[in-house]
Each structure stands twice: as C-alpha cells, then as structure tokens.
Symmetry: C2
Subunit: 359 residues, 2 copies
C-alpha cells in the first residue's frame, strides 16, 4: 500500500492534513443516525453551582448559620453554542435526573439538546436532590408508593402498561424509573422554589425555561418574576394555573381532588402574554371522568390547560397547547421527554424554538 | 489582504485544510496553560443511572413497593479514554458535587480528570443527594451548623481562615461551599452504602476508587467486597480503619470522641494488601492535642492512618500515606481536591496512577 506515489512535499502536507481532519471529531449535532455510534459531544464548559437561597441564624453571639433553600444547577455549554440556554426544571418527586439518561438507558433531553448545540442547565429545585439543604426541617417517610406513581405518571394501570405505552418493557427500565424519585427534604414552598429559579435567570441571563408537571405552575410564576425567561416549554403542567383576577375558572373535580386556578393581578398575567409558550400533554388522558385516579387526575389538568392557553391568547399572548395524540403521536406517558419516542418529542420542541426564533 | 497570491488549486486546498484544522478542537488533555481558554472537552458518552439498592413491600395483596437504597451515578467517558475509570465517592454531608466545580468556580476533579482522559463516575451514596430514596424514614433537622463545618473541615477557626489556607477569600466561595452540603435522607448504614458501590463496580468492571473522609473507611470495605476495585486513592479518610483481628490499635481519644479501629478477619484484610493504596492528608493537623475540635479530630485520624498504612505494608501491601505539608504543600483543607492548589494535588494523584500502571 505504501506505493510511494505521493511523495511530493505538497502531497505529504495534504495527507497529513487529511489525517488530522479524519481524527477531528465531527460536530455533536451531526449525529442523527441512530444506528451509528453517536458523535462525541464537544463541551466548551461544564460545571455546577448553587443559586439563590437564604441564610438562617441560630440565636446568640456564638450563633451558627445555615445556608439553604438554594437551587443546585449542573450545566454544560457546547462548542459553537446557540444563544439561548435551556433551563430544565423537574417535577414533583424528581430532580435533575429527569432530563438525563432515560430509564431504559438512552439519551435524555440533557444530551439530546447539547447535541443540538443548546447550553443546557439542569435544576434541582430547593429542598430536592442536590439542593437538599433546607432552612426548615421535615420528616421523610419510607412508605412504599411505587405503584401509585406508575398509575399517576400514566405508564398504565398497575401492573399493566397501557397498550402502546412508550416505555420499555425491560424490567430494568422500571427499576431505574422508580429509583429516579427523591423525597422533599423540607416543606414544599412555591416562593422558595421560584425565587431560586428566578435567581438562576438573573445569573445566566435570557433563556428558555423547560418545565415538567409540578414545575409547570412554578414556571409561570418564575416567568412573571423574571423577564429573562424568554419562553416556556411546559410538559404536562399539573398545577398552579394562573388567571387574571376575575377570570379564574371554576374548580374542576377529579378523583385526586379539586383542581383550582389561581388569580394574579392583570399586570402580572400580562407578562405571560409577552413570551411564546408551548404546553405538551401525552396520551391516555380521558375526556370523560375515569375511575382510575391517574387518568382522572390528568383529565382535569388537560382541560384546565386548555382554558389557560385560551386565556393567554385572549389577552394577546402566544400559547399553544399540543395534545400529542392529536398529532398522531401515541402512547406518551407523563414523561414525554424520556419516553421511547423522545427524539420525536424533542423534534417538536426544536420546531417550536425555531419557529419562535429562539434557536 | 486579499492579494490573490495563493490562487492555485493546491494552495486553495491547503488553506481549506488549514482552516479546517484551526477549527478542529484539540484533545482535552492538551490544555495545561491556565491562562489560555481551556480546550473543549470531547465526551464520547455521558449519562446517569441508579445501581444497587433494594425493594421493600407494604403488606397485603394490593401492596405497594419502594425501590430505594441505590447509589446514583453520573458518568462521562472522554474520547480516547484510558482503560480504568475513576469512581469518585464523596464524604459525610456531601454528594457528587464534591468533585464538580470548586466553591470558587474552578474545575474540580470531575473535569480535571476527564481532561486527563479518564472516564469519571461520580457517586451519590444511598440516602444522599440524587440517591435520596431510602427504605427507612428519617427526620431532617434544619439546625444551623455551618461554622461547625468551617472548623471541622479545617478552613480555619471561625471566622478566621488559617493563614495560607488554600481557600478563596471571596465570600461567594464560602457561600457556595456551605451550599454543597446535603443531609442524609435515611439513617446512615455502612452496609447499604458499600453494597451499592460494590454493585457499581460489578456493573462497570475494574476501576480506581477515589474516596473522601467518611467514604474512606467505606472504601476499604467496598474494596474488600469487590476485586474490581483495583486501587484506592483516599483523601483524608476519617473513620472505619480496618485491621486484622488481634492487631487493632487502642482507641485514640480526641475532642470529638474516641477513634476506634475495627477488626476484620485476616483473609479479608489481606485483600487490601493486593491493591495499591494512597492516602492524602492536608495541612493544619496538629501532632499534639489541640483545644480546637476540628484540628484535634484530624490529629487522631492522621495518627490512625499512619498505623493503618503500616499494618497494610507489614502484611505485604502497598499503602502510602502522603501528608501534604511534608512535601512542602501547605494550606490544604479537608478538601484538597477542590482547594486552590487542586491542580497540583491532582498532579500527585496522576503520578500515583502512573507509577502503579493504572493510567
């Protein structure tokens, strides 16, 4: 093979350059062939920090302090990054893991969107996960409740998965899924949580907030607190729907209790009409009351979200509700971003970001 | 500047190649000039998983389960990785954050050793941080105790830093430092912790275990449990020193209570003599009893570690105790790997790994 046919100096330089290029890692976002070895991620910078929070003091001159109620953030900035970072905020009983490797071992939103050249910030909200240091004590129960979450998160009706549920049937996936839950290490406090996330946007500047479930409602509050929240992508928001004073819908009854909207001053609500918002819901949410609490719970939440997006748009805003089955995308659970079709779900989000000029 | 002097096809190709090379990211480990923009990290793979743990069940046919007591692991594998991964295990009151960005915002061991081409696995031990789901409940106190840790972790004698302490005097660094603490979300259980870390080594195969403080003693147990632990690097081990039956030293009295060695069967102890071990301690550890509990606490631990490494070596092992001030490296706290001179401290560890053929 060493034929000596290319022994001129110029050819030698060309070959050297070609070899160097061959070992040069291709851009991370070029890897869309799922059968191929994914390209390397090129990370310009990564790290973690605490943000927000408060300090309490014990009495007396020799008093001790406790620094708590901050959020923990792990972030990665890819090479050739897009301008606006994505801030990903977990839901109830979860932490930053929500966005990492899926229960069945595939890449989650953290890495998918790094490959798409977004800086990605994963939040552990105050009193959860790596932000567990709380200024208020609590008691943690070890009462078993996995099956409750299987139903509530709409994997199916325990022990059966919904037909076509976008969740691996490998038992190890369910093992991993149950183990990504974490308890609150202090009383849940919406102000503490939203103050910390607002402090994050103070620190990093403009970005897109991606919420899930419990952080959906918290996300609206954070967006009203901080104009650096330039858009919200909300997966299955489950509570905290805010309406202008005088326009709060009647509570909706469900097997998991009444779902109420909350009144905020019109001037506050107006802030949510100035940013693009998209809300996604998955499959197996009935239109009519269900005897299965997990399904009935989400029936009223989807219904309330419809009223909510209508209210945003009625006041001149730009909110879109996407019920995935209406696009023919079936089987999604309460965690569409980590379901088996999460690349397809991510593509929808990429499309939203592109249409709104956020990428 | 566009002089047209290089308009031959060959020159054009050369220029294109040169431009391509200029945008090609250099290998991550090439960035040792601390004044330069660090090179991009090239990550072949990253993700997270739960490992080990158990399942408990509530009584009755409709019983619920709880999956808990696993470790949480976040890992990154660089391009062109070395063979043996580094498994980094935090100490008391801490979680994987220990190894991430330092309190003053510089790169910690996670990223430093990724740049040196090691796969890096960060552990949250069971009942801590992202592995908070415990099979046993607990109560979490919010009693302020920051100043206790300032002294115990040998930053100084509150409110004064030790002269020359390798810790930033920027108040934000101390703010970050206090906020990286997390409570236990279940009772501390050495068996639960070491079983989970042993399960990690079952999953990933041979590797080097890097421990800190409380995980020092746990690390010896994990290494006895699992032959995939091929070496141990232990920063300031603080408890759980194991000795062969009949060779346990007398307890050592200190202001924080007696420090006892623990007996293990000779055959178990022998397992620790078959792997290279290095133990590092920082500065401001007195030889004589001190009236300051933080200093007195580490006085007996350093003394016990000396007896321990002697016992390992007496039985044919390969344990080295490095007291950093004896090398002229001054000012290190209980967290040498995140102190201001952590690159120098990392260089020592790299040297150990190289000498033992572990890199």
């Amino acid at each position: 093979m060493h034929s000596g046919q290319n022994n001129s100096p110029v050819a030698g330089v060309l070959i050297a350059a070609a070899l160097a290029l061959a070992t040069c890692v291709v851009p991370a976002h070029a890897a869309d062939d799922r059968n191929a070895q994914p390209a390397a991620l090129m990370i310009k910078e990564q790290g973690s920090f605490a943000v927000g929070g408060t300090v309490i003091r014990s009495p007396g001159a020799e008093g001790q302090t406790l620094h708590g109620d901050h959020a923990r953030v792990f972030y990665q900035v890819p090479v050739d990054a897009r301008k606006l970072p994505l801030v990903m905020w977990h839901g109830f009983g979860q932490f930053g893991k929500t966005w990492e490797t899926t229960a069945d071992g595939r890449e989650g939103y953290q890495t998918i969107f790094l490959r798409r050249r977004f800086p990605v910030y994963l939040v552990d909200q105050p009193r959860r996960g790596g932000a567990a240091r709380s200024t208020v004590g609590t008691t943690i129960s070890a009462a078993p409740d996995d099956q409750r979450w299987f139903n509530m998160f709409r994997l199916g009706r325990w022990p059966d998965f919904f037909a076509g549920a976008q969740f691996s049937r490998d038992p190890e996936a369910l093992n991993q899924y149950f183990r990504q839950m974490v308890p609150d290490t202090g009383p849940f406090d919406a102000k503490v949580a939203t103050d910390a996330v607002s402090a994050l946007f103070d620190r990093i500047g403009p970005g897109v907030l991606v919420t899930h479930s419990q952080s959906g409602g918290l996300g609206w509050i954070a967006a009203m607190k901080n104009p650096n929240v330039r858009a919200v992508v909300s997966y299955e928001p489950g509570s905290g729907f805010v309406f202008p004073e005088g326009e709060v819908p009647a509570p909706m009854q469900s097997m998991t209790g009444p779902l109420e909207g909350f009144a905020v001053p019109k001037a506050e609500f107006a802030k949510l009409t100035r940013i693009p918002i998209v809300v996604y819901y998955g499959d197996n949410i009935p239109e009519e009351p269900s005897k299965n609490f997990g399904e009935d719970n989400w029936r009223v939440r989807l219904a309330m979200a419809r009223l909510w997006t209508e209210a945003i748009n009625r006041h001149g805003g730009d909110a879109t509700l996407v019920h995935l089955p209406e696009l023919g995308i079936r089987g999604n659970t309460h965690f569409p971003f980590s379901d088996l079709n999460n690349v397809q779900v991510a593509d929808l989000m990429s499309g939203f970001l592109a249409r709104k000029g956020l990428d």
